[in-house]
Amino acid sequence: MKEEMKNAMERHILVVLPHPDDEAFSLSGTLAKHIEAGSPVTYACLTLGEMGRNMGNPPFTNRVELPGIRKQELEESCAAIGIQDLRLLGYHDKTVEFEDTALLDGNIAAILDEVKPSLVYTFYPGYSVHPDHDATGAAVVRTVGRLPEDERPTVRCMAFSRDHELAIGRPDVISDVKGFLKQKMGAIRAHRSQFHGVIGSNSLTDREMQERFGTERFWTYRFN
């Protein structure tokens, strides 16, 4: 069942992702759309992506300076999308799956309690390729799952592992973001250490851009 995303105003939207840039390709257009509808967005980013391999070509930074660069890029991406509340949770890239789950879940629970979101975006645990993605999604699902059923926000997940649709089916929320490509491309371009060469030149036509970037897809997490 496909359901075109209704752009109703949400009380508050919470985004929980592990790396600066995780928002860019699969979520930024949808967030810009929510923000235009008047929904406040809080983005909790667990790490600074300090173990990333991309640093430009030729490399314009190094292992030691990369976290600071990626923090700036994330702030620029948020500005492009219109996100005003960015939380950096201070975990270390590649280690989320090894973290003390009480600490991690407590951190997420405190933010849930503070902003009381009606909608949460994260990765689909088990179907999101990077161990940090899966561990972040698992922590969100665990923590939201502990809330009383009538207080639980909707959780929408991103998934992109090989053959994920065989396990979790087709996405049930399709978000048309063709009207928000300016914000989305701004977010992607902000992460210049990571996506140099990914977008290439500006030679794509408007139509190609819309086909490549104009749709974002989500799976609503089923708790029961």
Binding site: M51, G52, R53, N54, M55, G56, N57, P58, P59, F60, T61, N62, R63, V64, K94, V129, H130, P131, D132, S161, R162, H196, G197
Partner: protein, 114 residues
């Protein structure tokens, strides 16, 4: 980052000899290696801010370079190094970047934790 200057790196290694140092040593194929190409075997390992001391160290090869550090009870070894951070005076920041600029290997030494 600049391409490694052999003599400069040997000089810096010598300056760090016989003292307690924090080491960051890393090698990675990237977490997405198998996602992009199922025949690839993704692997990565790093150790960050372990304390070592070496008594003898040198750089070798014609580029990409190797570095070996002899410790009282063992060795630190790294191959595939291409770049160093020329603006760092106190710390030694070495890395190997592949043809797309992606980091493959890193060897870093510092008197203070990273």
């Amino acid at each position: 980052m600049q391409l490694i200057d052999f003599n400069e790196i040997q000089h810096r290694i010598d300056e760090l000899r016989d003292q307690e140092l924090y080491i960051h040593l890393e090698m990675t194929t990237g977490a997405y290696a198998a996602h992009m190409d199922a025949s690839k075997h993704p692997a990565a390992t790093f150790i960050s801010n372990a304390v070592i001391r070496f008594t003898h160290g040198s750089i070798s090869g014609n580029g990409p370079y190797r570095v070996g550090l002899k410790m009282p009870h063992g060795w630190v070894y790294s191959e595939g190094l291409t770049h160093f951070e020329e603006t760092e005076r106190e710390r030694l920041i070495l890395a190997g970047h592949d043809g797309q600029g992606k980091l493959v290997v890193a060897l870093q030494l510092s008197r203070e934790p990273f």
